[in-house]
Subunit: 388 residues, 2 copies
């Protein structure tokens, strides 16, 4: 594969926002174009990750509309959808296009506008990502499946409610310092423990919110990166892996390990020629608090059942040995589904540039990993980035 770089990033605030899906995407995209000095250059493609703009907002033909709105016609424009990992899958297509030599400058946008429909409609739209035949038909929701997983993990490894609450506490602590996060206030273990139950044992603070927001990155070939003379150092894409699992959770071999993460991470590490211990910073898909522990173990940062030790001893804090979700993760940064994967790339690029928000910068971060989940526990994309 030809070398591929991320040379510009942009992002809106995540939250419940007034802007339309088009306005959000445009804002993030223009910032990424400016950041990479590419605003007057010819883009070959725009790749847009969005889970379900038609049903959340009524907007169809999203990639074409955005190519026009952003003034990059006649660039090829494609929307990519893999559930909530749509943003990472859009990034993957951009990497493939540049890596194959089919493109040299590609705009990647991840966007979702989820607040335009009422809560019931939003739940029905989101439920389309779990199995109708084996799960949704019986009233299961993503939160209910996460609760099953949490119960099993507690049973197998002795995880306590107080332990689990350390995850949202860290997320909110970091989110409080992230000016673009959906939630910017801290929470305590007690507040997490005693919040409204969403699906026992998970409380409100174990679950990521539905959010509006967009993020964008500019992906380019080595030649174009040099030609752009971007104001900031480019970051190279070292590895990428993408894997699925059986759709229904009941068909899987384990409740406490997500096989698709294991495979996607193995593929990404093999391509990058590095090992988990080489990572300096990680953005993991913590749609539910229990997933952050499982993600860490599946990626190879800890043995099964032992991730909580890294949380307890501070290793996953911003100043720890392997900081996880320094910008608040899905829990506090927010989770506009199609935007999340691109936001993870953007936030990791800021870390590798040394320009993370105040109080969130990991010291001398050189290699970062992002991990994004599509349905409930399947369709994972793992990307590894390195500072040049």
């Amino acid at each position: 594969m030809e070398p591929v770089y991320v040379t510009g990033v942009g992002m809106t605030r995540f939250g419940t926002l007034d802007e339309s899906i088009i306005e959000l995407a445009e804002k993030a995209a223009v910032e990424a174009m400016r950041d990479s000095n590419s605003i007057e250059h010819k883009f070959d493609y725009a790749i847009v990750g969005s889970q379900n703009p038609e049903e959340f907002t009524g907007q169809g033909h999203l990639s074409t509309v955005l190519a026009d709105r952003l003034g990059i016609v006649p660039a090829g424009a494609t929307r990519v959808e893999t559930g909530p990992s749509a943003g990472s899958s859009a990034f993957e297509e951009a990497v493939a296009l540049v890596g194959a030599g089919l493109a040299s400058l590609v705009l990647v946008i991840g966007v979702e506008k989820m607040s335009g429909v009422d809560r019931g409609a939003a739940s029905r739209i989101i439920a389309k990502m779990i199995s109708l035949e084996s799960e949704a038909r019986y009233g299961a929701t993503p939160a209910a499946l996460a609760a099953l997983v949490a119960r099993r993990y507690m049973h197998d490894y002795g995880l306590t409610r107080n332990d689990l609450s350390l995850i949202p506490v860290k997320a909110h602590k970091n989110g409080a310092k992230n000016p673009l996060a959906h939630f910017q206030s801290e929470v305590t273990v007690d507040k997490v423990n005693t919040a409204r139950i969403v699906s026992d044992p998970l409380t409100l603070y174990d679950c990521s919110p539905t959010s509006d927001g967009a993020a964008a990155v500019v992906v380019a070939s080595e030649k174009v990166v040099r030609a752009l003379g971007s104001p900031t150092e480019p970051v190279r894409v070292l590895g990428i892996g993408h894997a699925t699992d059986y759709h229904a959770v009941q068909h899987r071999l384990s409740l406490t390990s997500l096989r698709a993460t294991v495979v996607a991470a193995e593929n990404a590490f093999r391509m990058a020629r590095i090992k988990p211990k080489d990572l300096d910073v990680c953005e993991l898909h913590d749609a539910f608090s229990i997933l952050e522990l499982i993600d860490m173990e599946d990626i190879g940062l800890a043995k099964p059942g032992e991730a909580i030790e890294l949380v307890k001893n501070g290793a996953t804090q911003v100043d720890g040995s392997i900081p996880v979700n320094t910008t608040g993760g899905l829990k506090a940064r927010g989770h506009p589904t199609g935007a999340t994967g691109v936001a993870q790339i953007r936030d990791t690029v800021l870390q590798l540039r040394g320009s993370a928000p105040k109080g969130l910068q990991v010291r001398d971060a050189e290699i970062g990993l992002t991990h994004n989940i599509g349905g409930f526990g399947n369709n994972m994309v793992v990307s590894i980035l390195r500072r040049q």
Copy 2:
């Protein structure tokens, strides 16, 4: 780019069908896997092109569900959407993944199930691909825009109603010999001229139908093609181009030439290092009869206003010098939107293998082109294939 091959193809009948979207996709995919001898091999990815499965059928998370159903977990699985060119854009992503060396065996599926909703709902879903602000809001439909284009073309170039009717007559003549076509009966110029008006001057026979159906192709690297020992000769992907135009027709420079086709075709020809005169067979996006003429001119088969001469002198017939839409095109083969681009690839591969249906084989076809339109006149993908 690494060499990329199409080594297996499959397709369902197109029409108003009983099967679900999942059953249709599965049927085409299994046929393509069998055809390429790859059914027991490890697929790296499944890329699925579908315009709007959520609203046409209620089915979400299509790529993940299909990876599971087809037994190719843990393959990466992605859905791609560019309106009705979704199938070609899925093929493009597969080409990029193999071309970059990120994958060596990829299943591409194009599928749409449009008959599950009533005609009014189908029209509203399809209308999401045209501009809301400039077109749909005022009652414009894709057919109305095509009628505007036809009127202008008739005015500028003196095209007559009888001339235009030759396009659907040829489509139905070919479709009558295609066992998988939606419509398998011939029509006459008089029948086209006097059919119900859809949008003046276009009648029912100027317009492609809404259909159900799926097509699939297997895309592979050179090494894998050799390892598979496929029963049929592989076909190489010589070139691919993808381009957009301004979303609203009123913002474009011309009504009678689609700039996105011109750009996409130029890019594909440059990559393939061939010229339009080197083509032996073409599948063009004739969603409306007038588009077949415009497509021919934009690709470079005829000068502006002169494509009709190639139709009149028989050049676009199966035994002509540049056969167009030998399997009936969108008009007669049918137009399950997300499936169309993959069906075009499949039908072109059959031509290059010399195994087109009886009466439809182009003699000694070596190079073929497919052209697929996304919205109304934008988001085009052009692919060029060559027999090895």
